[in-house]
């Protein structure tokens, strides 16, 4: 039995300690917002936060998450009102939507560390997240908008 803290809740997981966090989230815990895209840390659809760091859950063994705080898209905000979530809706970023949770989770770490990212900062931070529908321009704009919202204490929209 492995104990994990996910989105501020404690879960006792009966799984091989080598199991990737992605599959524990999806198959054991039932949090399916974190997506399976490639399984080899190439596409970013599975990004979650581990003690505030963006990690690719498809290659993160659960034993690495023991004693740490796991945050998934479902736990990013209390009322789905993180500045990024608001900005994503305001600019209607999504097309198929499959990669967007991973994009938002990667962007959330960027915005925490860099309150006012430039296009270049965004390009660098988001290069690991593939969007096959090609919504990159709107993702970039939404990160800028979220940065503005964040500066205003998440007021507006």
């Amino acid at each position: 039995m492995i104990t994990l803290n996910i989105n501020k809740k404690t879960y006792n997981i009966d799984a091989d300690p080598e199991t990737p966090l992605l599959w524990v989230l999806r198959d054991h815990v039932g949090l399916v917002g974190t997506k399976f895209g490639c399984g080899v840390a190439q596409c970013g659809a599975c990004v979650v936060h581990l003690d505030g760091e963006a990690v690719r859950s498809c290659v993160t063994r659960i034993n690495r998450a023991v004693g740490k705080k796991v945050v998934t898209i479902e736990g990013l905000s209390e009322k789905n009102d993180h500045p990024l979530q608001k900005a994503w809706l305001e600019l209607d970023v999504s097309q198929c939507g499959y990669c967007q949770a991973g994009q938002i989770m990667s962007a959330a770490v960027l915005l925490k560390e860099n309150k006012n990212p430039t296009d270049q900062d965004i390009n660098d931070a988001m290069a690991g997240n593939i969007c096959r529908c090609g919504t990159y321009l709107r993702i970039r704009d939404a990160i800028h908008l979220a940065s503005e919202l964040q500066k205003k204490g998440n007021a507006g929209l």
Partner: protein, 751 residues
């Protein structure tokens, strides 16, 4: 997919009924033979259990069911918008739900061929208008006033003279007893207040909060997970397997083979499957199944030539699938060999042979493109629960109506015993029009006697695909001594089909014209990929026209407009597919918006291209710079004519996405084979465009007109390839003939 018949059946009809507990439910039918006829299905069944299309309850809840599967083109928003417009309700209060698969009640339900808006435009507006009329009739009866004095506004009904008013819900139950009126007048498109106004994605909030929406997210009580094990190479088949070690692994329930189709099964056009016999590993969780797959000991052997039986209009026919273990170099060699042979004449105008013989100058260029994999972000998957007397299937697919008859035959269950539910799709691009993975999931569930979700790994998805074919085309142009274009010749081929659209531009604009095609049989499975064939044809043709314009000393935009003027005023030949005015319209619009030949011409390396496909017109100007020593598409101007734009901001998003997709695939996309093995099996080797490679700006302009809407998912995609190639020429001084353009280019002298 372009072959789909899209003529709307005029015998469309609507049917109303009451909802248990009161209220109005209106659904529509028709389309009995729409799009399905070629599969030989007679869908003109009697009505039985009623599902809803529009539902209005007494407490004034308004629900609109979306008929077509959603794969990111935003139909779940745009189709219900059409209903809401005519129904005259407050869009913000409408609840949208994805409909179940039911072609009788909900129409063709096919997402593909850029057809959704076009196929549902009339029936959905009519459904909304009829429902509104019935509610008005019910109010007129209740208030004992003439219907002519009744008005509606945003879900409310008024009788101004008496000052009476109510909401739709008040009259819904009464309306359900009123016969559905025929041919209710729909609104003038100039008066729209929902359609032609930007409305946000109805599932946006669910997407950004990680709600279960996709096939992979679906859960069912007692559900097991299955993963496939398929031959490692095209041309191979299963010889034997030993599952003893795999079966000892934790969580593993079973390992077995399934055979998709029995010998002699008549395959329809969308029954394409990569391998007919595969292994399935079934277990409790995905990771356990992934681990057990590694413990399987499997022997494969060359399949040799095999035989498939295909359905056809003139009866079934047998097709030999060659057993060769193909490699890309040999494929290229074979294409060069076939290109030199005589080919099938697809169209001939005038006397091209004599014109070429008498030409002062002949320009000949050959263009090549590789296989492409769809790489939907959500790998192929489907849930199935098959028992002796029924089947439930849930997951992502584009054309449930094309897979159900196949399931019916394979499972020996009548179609009414098969329920298919469509989840949101994590991308489609044509890939999910091929329902073999439903057949696989169903057979696995049947054998395992359990509800099962079949999941492909990314590697399975990449190496077990239904790919965009490998294409080539040689273009020739004859110029006279005054550099006038006197003849044009295209000869195209591919593995296993060619991409020649013989009746498209510049056919119709040149007196002497010849189009020829040839094909090479292959065991590599191919199918629709965003704008099938057009995605290559546009790249090659639009690059060639650019080179031709230069040779003739003309501006590439002026040259195209001259040809279109000719096609408009004095068209050559018959069956020209395009409208020369609308084609010229997008070129003129992009010329104006990009400031073509203005000061910015010097600031950027500019390439232009245009194309017509799927009933819509698109033109792009690509502005290229150099970033980190590499060509970088910094800006794009797009001009589109798809008739009435239903949802402007979402349409803009889709064009921007198509532009990014086109830049990515033209520069980096490509799939190669080595002895039948797909070399690029995941995103480390199959390069997909990423954030830093996406343009800073894609400015989208729509031609404003009141023409009935046509498609948008595909048309903006093909010309991107040509515009990128033409911009690369300006940037590097070299012409680009081999896709992807980032790969080494053949040495061909400039004009």
């Amino acid at each position: 997919m372009e072959k789909t018949n899209t003529n709307f059946n005029r015998r469309a009809f609507l049917k109303a009924s009451a909802i248990a507990g009161g209220g109005l439910m209106l659904h529509f039918s028709a389309l009995a033979k729409f799009g399905l006829a070629e599969r030989g299905i007679d869908n003109a069944a009697e009505w039985h259990e009623l599902t809803g299309y529009i539902k209005i309850t007494p407490d004034n809840a308004i629900k609109i069911i979306c008929p077509n599967p959603e794969f990111g083109q935003n139909v779940m928003t745009s189709l219900p918008m059409m209903v809401a417009e005519e129904l005259d309700v407050d869009w913000k209060k409408v609840v949208v739900e994805m409909g179940p698969h039911d072609n009788t009640k909900l129409g063709p339900q096919f997402t593909g061929g850029s057809n959704s808006m076009r196929m549902y435009w009339k029936p959905l507006r009519q459904a909304g208008a009829a429902a509104r009329n019935m509610l008005m009739q019910a109010a007129a009866q209740s208030w004992a006033v003439p219907i002519e004095e009744i008005t509606t506004k945003a879900g409310e009904i008024y009788h101004e003279k008496s000052g009476k008013k109510g909401v739709y819900g008040d009259f819904a139950t009464k309306a359900s007893a009123i016969p559905v009126p025929k041919d209710v007048k729909v609104k003038d498109v100039k008066t729209f207040n929902v359609v032609r106004h930007s409305q946000k994605n109805v599932e946006g909030a669910k997407i950004v909060s990680g709600k279960p929406l996709f096939g992979l997210d679906y859960k069912h009580e007692g559900m097991l997970i299955a993963m496939p094990v398929h031959p490692p190479a095209f041309g191979m088949k299963l010889k034997s397997f030993d599952a003893s070690q795999a079966l000892k692994m934790p969580g593993i329930k079973d390992v077995f083979t399934i055979k998709l189709f029995e010998d002699g099964f008549e395959l329809g056009g969308f029954d394409t499957r990569t391998f007919n016999v595969i292994l399935a590993v079934v277990g409790k969780t995905t990771w356990e199944v992934m681990q057990a797959r590694r413990k399987l000991i499997v022997e494969w052997e060359p399949a040799g030539d095999t035989k498939d039986t295909m359905q056809g209009h003139g009866g079934k026919r047998e097709v030999i699938v060659p057993g060769e273990l193909e490699s890309t170099e040999k494929q290229m060699e074979k294409m060069r060999e076939y290109a030199a042979k005589p080919a099938q004449v697809l169209r001939k105008d005038g006397d091209p042979e004599t014109a070429f013989k008498n030409a002062a100058q002949v320009i000949e260029r050959t263009y090549n493109a590789p296989f492409l994999a769809h790489n939907c972000m959500e790998p192929m998957n489907f849930f199935a629960h098959v028992t002796d007397d029924k089947a439930l299937l849930v997951g992502p697919l584009q054309a449930p109506g094309w897979t159900e008859p196949t399931l019916s035959k394979v499972l020996k269950l009548s179609p009414d015993k098969i329920e298919i539910q469509m989840t949101r799709m994590g991308g489609g691009f044509g890939r999910r029009a091929y329902g073999h993975y439903l057949v696989e999931a169903a057979l696995i569930s049947k054998q395992a006697k359990a509800p099962v979700k079949l999941i492909y790994s990314r590697e399975d998805d990449a190496t077990y695909g239904i790919y965009r074919p490998m294409y080539t085309a040689t273009y020739r142009a004859a110029l006279d001594a005054n550099k006038n274009l006197i003849a044009f010749h295209v000869k195209g081929g591919g593995i296993p089909e060619n991409a020649v659209h013989q009746n498209r531009f510049p056919a119709g604009a040149i007196d002497n014209y010849l189009a020829e095609g040839w094909e090479i049989a292959s065991n590599i499975t191919i199918g629709a990929f965003r704008a099938p064939r057009s995605n290559f044809a546009a790249a090659a043709e639009q690059s060639f026209l650019d080179e031709l314009a230069e040779a003739m000393g003309k501006d590439p935009i002026d040259f195209r407009l001259e040809l279109l003027k000719r096609a408009k005023e004095n068209p050559v030949g018959k069956n020209n597919e395009y409208d020369a005015d609308r084609y010229a319209g997008v070129i003129k619009l992009v010329k104006e918006k990009s400031g073509w030949n203005g000061p910015e011409q010097k600031q950027f390396h500019r390439g232009v291209a245009a194309y017509f496909c799927h009933n819509s017109y698109a033109a792009h100007v690509v502005d290229m710079t150099t970033k980190d020593g590499q060509p970088y598409v910094e800006r794009v101007f797009s001009a589109i004519d798809c008739g009435i734009v239903i949802n402007p901001d979402a349409a803009t998003n889709m064009v921007q996405g198509a532009v990014v997709d086109g830049i990515g695939n033209s520069l980096y996309g490509g799939l190669t084979h080595k002895d039948g093995v797909v070399v690029q099996n995941n995103f480390h080797s199959y390069r997909i465009i990423r954030m830093h490679e996406a343009p800073k700006k894609v400015e989208v302009h729509f031609v404003q007109n009141d023409i009935d809407p046509t498609g948008l998912g595909e048309p903006p995609f093909p010309p991107v390839f040509g515009a990128v190639a033409n911009a690369l020429y300006k940037s590097t001084g070299k012409r680009y003939y081999q896709q992807p353009f980032s790969s080494p280019q053949p040495e061909i002298p400039n004009v």
